[in-house]
């Protein structure tokens, strides 16, 4: 039988806001440890999450509050959430020197104000963020990252984790070694995506004055466009192929065209956006949407 305790805490920080937190602790004599904490925050709060293994799900809500719900099964870890001024730090602590990946696992459900800035470090597991408009920095090793309806300055770095970004705006920089990327329904004005072994799919808008740089070593880079789009295109694969369905106006200056590899250069419609696709030995496809 689980017990529920409500404990009111005055968090101590030497500068900044005083924000009483509400701590809800449930513990089951069986296996799961659950913690729920609430923090009142001001606009543009910063939320940092450091979780070596497990799921991290962050969603925006309308309250000026950060809510952290954490679940873990092992006694060898401890989850901690603290507030310092307008920043909330969430951390999974390893209590034992020797610990298996399963024991290290903690899962988080975090609700934040829409304008919160996020800094997330999750080595393995999954990271999902939805509807958050503040800047974001996400780093993982193997964890996949899924962003939906995010905006702001988004930087994502994985080693092998995949990345999906749907209906995001603002500025996006993503890099990986072997992760693949799916960039769907994007309204970003700056996209810089680089992976070594992974594939990149871009199916979004090319905003006027936008810059879109997609790069890999091997694999496929696939970009979809519509007849009404307008971009300046540079697509080069050093050892692989470039398949292009866009009718391009060739550049006025032929010396722009590199003599190395397979390259396609030209302007589609008025060339308002800049699209640069580059692969070492992969295949680049520029395909018209149906």
């Amino acid at each position: 039988m689980s017990t529920t305790q409500f404990v009111s805490l005055g968090f101590n920080w030497k500068t900044g806001l005083l924000a009483p937190g509400l701590l809800l602790v449930t513990s089951s004599p069986v296996f799961a440890h659950n913690i729920e904490k609430h923090f009142k925050v001001e606009p543009r709060s910063v939320v940092t999450i450091h979780n070596p293994n497990g799921k991290v799900v962050v969603k925006a809500w309308t309250k000026s509050e950060v809510m952290v719900i954490a679940t873990h099964t092992s006694d060898k870890v401890e989850v901690d959430a603290e507030q310092a001024g307008n920043r909330v730090d969430v951390t999974t602590h390893q209590l034992s020197e020797t610990i298996s990946p399963e024991d290290l696992r903690a899962d988080y459900q975090i609700n934040v104000p829409e304008d919160a800035e996020l800094q997330i470090h999750d080595d393995s597991g999954e990271v999902t963020v939805a509807n958050v408009m503040g800047d974001m920095n996400v780093e993982t090793v193997g964890a996949g990252v899924d962003l939906e309806d995010a905006a702001g300055y988004l930087t994502v770095k994985t080693v092998g984790g995949s990345f999906q970004c749907v209906r995001c705006a603002g500025r996006l920089e993503v890099s990986s070694i072997s992760g693949s990327f799916r960039l769907l329904s994007l309204r970003s004005y700056h996209v810089h995506a680089q992976t070594s072994k992974g594939n990149i799919l871009f199916d979004g808008e090319f905003l006027p004055n936008g810059i879109y740089r997609l790069k890999n070593y091997s694999g496929v880079i696939e970009v979809h466009f519509s007849p009404g789009d307008s971009f300046d295109l540079s697509a080069t694969s050093l050892k692989g192929k470039v398949n292009n369905q866009a009718s391009l106006t060739p550049p006025a200056h032929p010396d722009r065209i590199s003599k190395f590899g397979n390259a396609i250069l030209g302007t589609f419609n008025a060339g308002h956006a800049k699209v640069e696709l580059s692969s070492f030995d992969g295949t680049i496809k520029i395909l018209k949407r149906d």
């Binding site: 543009r44 905003l207 004055n209 308002h272 800049k274």
Partner: protein
């Protein structure tokens, strides 16, 4: 302390280095924000936000561009994001720089002679007119004509081509000219009305 040294020390968390970087650049950033939003309170808030974002990310600065360019790019983004959030409907950057023909004011006939602005505009009128520009035009005008950046620098800050920067500047100036002429005509109308009232009905 030279800027390069201040950057290096700031990346290690040195407080004096942060302050040095702030003092080196705060006036230009504040000026940019002030010209973009038109009021000091909001400009101060945006200046603080721009520097905060910069200092949070300073460890990632690798010197691919000049530090001031990087800072101004951040500041422009901060301002444009704020302006975007303030607009009544969701506004993408293309709407910010390519205003609807209808809302952009009456089309001018390029060959039509017009009232002269010379002697009638001062910085107060100009600032009011600048505030009415769409955010993208405003940014390029402030960076070029007010702050004196060249087009190649603006292209780096705004991450656009030099051609786009020139085109946006031209459109900004054309729009400003229209706004200032409208303002001149409104003032002339009010003066005539005031003169008529003052004359009374004898």
């Amino acid at each position: 302390m030279p800027e390069a040294e201040a950057i290096r020390l700031a990346q290690a968390g040195n407080a004096a280095a942060f302050e040095r970087l702030y003092r080196l650049h705060n006036r230009r950033v504040y000026s940019l924000c002030l010209r973009m939003v038109g009021n000091t309170a909001e400009a101060e808030d945006l200046t603080q936000e721009a520097f905060l974002q910069l200092f949070r990310k300073i460890a990632t600065f690798r010197g691919e561009s000049a530090f001031s360019t990087w800072l101004h790019r951040l500041a422009v983004n901060v301002v444009l994001m704020r302006l975007r959030k303030k607009s009544a409907t969701e506004t993408s950057l293309d709407e910010m720089t390519e205003p609807d023909e209808e809302s952009g004011g009456p089309r001018r006939d390029f060959g039509t002679p017009d009232l002269r602005l010379s002697g009638s505009i001062d910085r107060v009128n100009l600032q009011r007119a600048v505030e009415q520009l769409p955010p993208g035009y405003k940014a390029v005008f402030v960076l070029h004509d007010v702050q004196g950046y060249e087009h190649n620098e603006i292209a780096e800050i705004m991450e656009c081509s030099i051609g786009n920067s020139k085109s946006q500047l031209h459109k900004a100036r054309m729009r400003l000219r229209e706004l200032l002429h409208e303002s001149m005509r409104d003032k002339a109308r009010e003066d005539r009305k005031a003169a008529g009232n003052a004359g009374g009905e004898d």
